[in-house]
Symmetry: C2
Subunit: 570 residues, 2 copies
Amino acid sequence: MLFISCFVLFSTIQSSFGSQERHFKWEVEYMFGAPDCIEHPVMAINGQYPGPTIRARPGDTIVVELTNKLHTEGVVIHWHGIRQFGTPWADGTAAISQCAINPGETFVYRFKVDKAGTYFYHGHFGMQRSAGLYGSLIVDVAEGEKEPFHYDGEFNLLLSDWWHKSVHEQEIGLSSNPFRWIGEAQSLLVNGRGQFNCSVAASYGNSTTPQCEFSGTEKCAPQALKVVPNKTYRLRIASTTALASLNLAIGKHKMIVVEADGNYVQPFAANDLDIYSGESYSVLITTDQNPNENYWLSIGVRGREPKTPQALTILNYIPNSDSKLPTSPPPVTPRWNDYAHSKNFTKSILALMGSPKPPRNFHRRIALLNTQNKINGYTKWAINNVSLVLPPTPYLGSIKYGLRRAYDRRRPAENFPSDYDVMKPATNPNSTYGNGIYVFSYGTTVDVILQNANALSENVSEIHPWHLHGHDFWVLGYGEGRFSEKDVATFNLKNPPLRNTAVIFPYGWTALRFVADNPGVWAFHCHIEPHLHMGMGVVFAEGVNHLPRVPDEALACGLTAKRFISGNHN
Amino acid sequence: MLFISCFVLFSTIQSSFGSQERHFKWEVEYMFGAPDCIEHPVMAINGQYPGPTIRARPGDTIVVELTNKLHTEGVVIHWHGIRQFGTPWADGTAAISQCAINPGETFVYRFKVDKAGTYFYHGHFGMQRSAGLYGSLIVDVAEGEKEPFHYDGEFNLLLSDWWHKSVHEQEIGLSSNPFRWIGEAQSLLVNGRGQFNCSVAASYGNSTTPQCEFSGTEKCAPQALKVVPNKTYRLRIASTTALASLNLAIGKHKMIVVEADGNYVQPFAANDLDIYSGESYSVLITTDQNPNENYWLSIGVRGREPKTPQALTILNYIPNSDSKLPTSPPPVTPRWNDYAHSKNFTKSILALMGSPKPPRNFHRRIALLNTQNKINGYTKWAINNVSLVLPPTPYLGSIKYGLRRAYDRRRPAENFPSDYDVMKPATNPNSTYGNGIYVFSYGTTVDVILQNANALSENVSEIHPWHLHGHDFWVLGYGEGRFSEKDVATFNLKNPPLRNTAVIFPYGWTALRFVADNPGVWAFHCHIEPHLHMGMGVVFAEGVNHLPRVPDEALACGLTAKRFISGNHN
């Protein structure tokens, strides 16, 4: 047996009317798994890897009582794409929104989901996301409402990448001098399943990898997508990769992209889909091909020279056997450095008519140059020459209660030198550590120009998907080289897509706009796990004084704990 | 080159008069090391593994500002053998004396050393000791005072065992069902140095292990003990092994044992020295052998069928080359299960005349039966049928401030069923988790009978070295089988040794006496790291109400943090 069948959830879900509280009791612990058929510790929730899928409806309150069953590590969970209006302490970012949950302790995440869409959750402390701490969070449309497109069934594909080296060892290597890069992933995973020691498509090529043979009980066997001919299916696709930018294609089936990051987009057809870490999409496919055949679904690496095999599964037309292999080999990912292809895809994403439009003007613009740097011989990433090292006391508490020593009070730079040549390695690649914050007045409209540049080596500039917590932003445009004032004229203010993650292409810039209307402290960072670990992020704060209070549990560490304990006992 | 030279510190140390504060700023982080010549992450202090040696004099105050530079793990350091009179919060036991120090945070350990002796320090959270977090703490006699024995120079040997599997993976295996035992160590280390891929004595046998060849720069090369003929040397030997009981011998040199666990003992001669995890000894050797030769110092495993090669170095008579191998092969460790040999050695340890004597009578006696058990299919160790799971809120704070929900209020059993057959596997091997405490009235004299028993399998009973925090105890006696009232008559009240660690032999009992005169909360546990991880420990509390206050830093987590934060902000 080659495939096991993927659960098909038809779109008519029966549920009670009105919004609900949905309660979950979760325990996080390490267990032995075998995500790519090779045994390895994985971070699991209630013994499941990936974690359980949450399904909810707009207006529902999600309550997750999260108990840390790890032995010596703290833990948090970030609800990626959920804006946490009024509950910034539930954003699940260690050192920003809350104290990491200590071993044995429980933290209650309570937050509303306000918008239908395809979301996910994941660890946000150290590199615990890479260790397997993730799962899906799907918000269906409200009872009685309809999506702006039709489909007969859906599949949920959570994509990730997997290493055989433990994240602990990866972290040590990244923090070492000499620097040790984590290298390319051993495997790509779909819903936590990949195959390192075999290939389901070995018979097509002349690879030395053996053909997979599964008994059907293996947790690493690919899940076949069982479909009925002549129907329309929604694929919900989200990427929580540590590193890999991915491309997904289905043999002989076009995809219609309809949703990105929990926002509807103007439907457009694509032969293949680029997806960066932190992004989510919904695509529709119609099962209108020869019903006597099955078809490949393949996922490959983009943007880095691929050393990781494709992830593969099949679209299994019922009643064909799910072991019946397609007649042709799996679709091949576009050339890894075909950036024209990537840009074309990304620029095709535009808001669905009727979506919220950006304010016409901005109040403040900050430009964030991301560079690779050295600090005392250690390899780092920096933004405007500051490499982020999070403070031990979470910002939300320290800002709310005015603890001035809790973080760097100097405001980080809002721009970078006008003579900085983004096309070349920096002449002076040294930078500094820091944890200063960008403070936005409540309700202001902020433009962010993400500026890419050459890395430490010549002729290297990488892709970085930047993810903003607490907000969706409008992507106003992408450009080549150094951003300049005249590029403003090219901004799309008519139908820019709303997203929570946006990519910067090599040597390019990306312009974003958002309204600072969500009181809290919000991470904004490259979603590539080792890049964030190496300092590639910034912190935004807005309207913290509008918050009535911060729950005790989010304050029970660092200087906030000391401040409230001090003098309160004898 | 085979050996590098070990630093010889002659006993005349110049220092200022009177007691001192000795300040240290330490950062704990993982780095890549190669303790047994195979690269592996190790826990290091200021980039050193093992951690820096502290030297002090009685009355000195040690101040260690410990910063946690780990990415997601908490950390603490326990000062093994230091009784922490008046500073129980500095004992460095996570969940007992303090909150684990969170990543990025600093905790200041400030405590007095009051007694000359050979001590050490190590991690006491999860299995971080096994990861390499340890170092030596040597207290020399006070200025102007003399040891009750003469020596011309000294060497410090900190013994440990080393695995190639990470402690994280070891912890997961121990907590898994089915249970995965950590197995025997790959290597034994002396001062953090061992040789897995070669042997310095390969030329003597017909082993397939190659002869070691070192250039002299390798950090895993053994340190030769450079000695001058016809002198007396003190070897300070301490064991921080995770598992292994050890035996140390020096070719053709007798050892005179003079100190155990920081207490002087009646000097006695031994051909070889048994040392269990948590113990320390000083022995004297006289370099009265043929000065044209060098001699082996070898260390092997006792009490478990040895699968780990001997640790080896040489006693290098100056001016011989330290590469000159001894004429005979290294001394062989006594047969692993020659318990008669072990008992004979252990029972030879008696207090030096003039040492403090135990009170003649006790106020309370508790008997602690240690058994291997199953709980819901998980393999555990239990004491009087309770397997210890430490609570997230440290006891010291929760007892001091009366937080009744912080731990199990039911008092654990002070005895075990009178019909329990210690010679056979338990008929019902199920036990329960718990974290109740033994509370002793301040100043009372407590007798503890440690009772060994058969493990889960027939005909298996293991050695367990039990370590008490906050106290030395008198070892009143050892016996075979089940302890009974008539054994009291055999107690040694005349010259029992004062120790902080005592072993129980297979199927035997060990009787201890101590005075509960040190306000605080104190761990008492098997010093075998995986056994403690599996629940083999208890917690003693005494005179906590005598403590004026507990420092804020020791309270800044769990329910103590919540209690003091709650209602103290808006």
